[in-house]
């Protein structure tokens, strides 16, 4: 049991080392390079992509985390956007991508919000707010309240015995 426990620790360390080898940001200084990491189920994820980042992907088909893919190149701007959850391959956005330069796309990819996190927050906020009572008119003055009070007084007067 002791051996299997040690094996498990070594296997996790090995998977982490592979993740670091597979993905690295070459923009910072040599002593401060940031690299790929692991999430649950030994899945490879990228480190934080910044606008000035130059990410290098190094995946051999026989690497444990490569899922059979062979990639040896830099990350492009559109993929940086993809890593933030933007649907870059959506045909409706083709014109937008065609008009932007590679640097602009890389800047956007590095600066943008992770879209899924923002969407989660927005959905949560709207669920937490009481939708049934929403009004398109802002309560900017007390006219409605004054009208209601006037009607109430009128009704009360009518109900009083003369």
């Amino acid at each position: 049991m002791e051996n299997s426990f040690l094996n498990l620790i070594l296997e996790v360390a090995l998977a982490k080392a592979h993740a670091a080898l597979n993905f690295v940001d070459l923009a910072p200084s040599i002593s401060n390079l940031s690299f790929g990491q692991l999430i649950a189920k030994n899945e490879l994820v990228a480190c934080t992509v910044l606008p000035q980042s130059d990410m290098w992907i190094s995946l051999n088909a026989d690497d444990p985390l490569s899922k059979g893919r062979e990639i040896h190149r830099s990350l492009i701007g559109e993929e940086a956007m993809l890593l933030n959850g933007f649907p870059t391959m959506d045909p409706r956005l083709e014109a937008v991508f065609a008009s932007a330069s590679s640097t602009q796309k890389a800047n956007f990819g590095g600066n943008s919000f992770p879209s899924t996190v923002i969407a989660s927050f927005i959905i949560a906020i709207y669920f937490a707010l009481d939708q049934s009572q929403v009004s398109d008119k802002a309560a900017t003055n007390t006219d409605d309240v004054a009208d209601a009070m006037h009607l109430l007084k009128k009704a009360r007067r009518a109900a009083e015995p003369s």
Partner: protein, 283 residues
């Protein structure tokens, strides 16, 4: 129906770990009023804008350093105080994007604010609002696809166009004195001498067209990174194999493994002591 809310981001250049501005504000960035990375100006501008056109809810994003680094925490507290003066209840969240189906470890801070009282929405219990938001956001957490699954394939036309554009530029093939000194120091820490081009581990990387577009500094960084990571992988594989086959480790390795085990037990014991102490203290 209008949204009656606002989603925004404030410049994080003064707070981020990888700061892109050379100058640094000493002390509280928010109190400084102006900062080289424009963070202070953005925060004050945002508060002023809310004063003129308040929305029922707001969602702001910034670097996690603002919430988790003690150096910047005071700036965040003052910012939240100013938001409360504008009538907002706020809650700070720190979330990592890889928990939300995105394959990037992007840790960020989010501020959710709710105007009290709301202008358009009816909120029956303001106290429960944030409780519900916390629960719902946690429910959205799930693990998504991994990096190899989302990367473009080699036949993608956009990828090809980008590669062709990169190859038209001539990369810089010299190192500055500062870069050279950094390289030398890094290799020296490994007990090795810096010799460019001799320790690149992966041939497929070196042969790729994209590698030809890299400048010398980036090539040497990649070389160093691959050398260190590859050495570590080899060492771990050897240990794992030795452990699985039941081969005897060398005396130094056996000592290291036993040290690891002892330190692990100590950590467990310490954790148990802390938990039990807290439990006894509460009781």
């Amino acid at each position: 129906m209008a949204l009656h809310g606002e989603v925004g981001g404030i410049s994080c250049k003064d707070f981020a770990k990888a700061r892109t501005t050379g100058a640094k504000v000493v002390g509280n960035v928010y109190l400084a009023g102006e900062s080289p990375g424009q963070s202070a100006q953005c925060m004050h501008g945002f508060v002023s804008q809310l004063h003129v056109t308040p929305t029922d809810w707001l969602l702001l994003e910034n670097s996690d350093e603002l919430a988790e680094n003690d150096e910047h925490r005071e700036a965040l507290d003052l910012f939240l105080h100013d938001l409360s003066l504008q009538g907002y209840d706020t809650r700070v969240f720190v979330k990592v994007a890889d928990r939300f189906v995105v394959c990037q470890k992007r840790k960020r801070m989010y501020i959710v604010g709710l105007l009290r009282p709301c202008k358009y929405f009816h909120v029956s219990d303001y106290g429960k609002f944030f409780e519900t938001v916390v629960k719902l956001v946690d429910m959205f957490e799930m693990v998504g696809p991994s990096l190899p699954e989302v990367m473009y394939h080699d036949d993608n036309p956009r990828l090809r166009a980008d590669a062709e554009a990169k190859l038209t530029k001539t990369p810089c093939m010299t190192l500055t004195t500062k870069e050279l000194n950094e390289q030398r120091a890094a290799w020296k820490a490994l007990g090795l001498r810096h010799e460019h081009g001799t320790r690149m581990v992966r041939d497929a990387d070196r042969d790729s067209a994209s590698y030809q577009a890299l400048c010398l500094r980036k090539r040497t960084c990649l070389e160093y990174h691959q050398h260190t990571r590859h050495s570590k992988i080899k060492e771990l594989e050897r240990k794992l194999q030795a452990d699985e086959v039941g081969q005897a480790l060398s005396p130094e390795e056996a000592l290291k493994v036993s040290r690891d085990k002892v330190s692990f037990v100590l950590v467990l014991w310490f954790g148990f002591m802390v938990v039990s102490h807290n439990f006894c203290f509460r009781v």
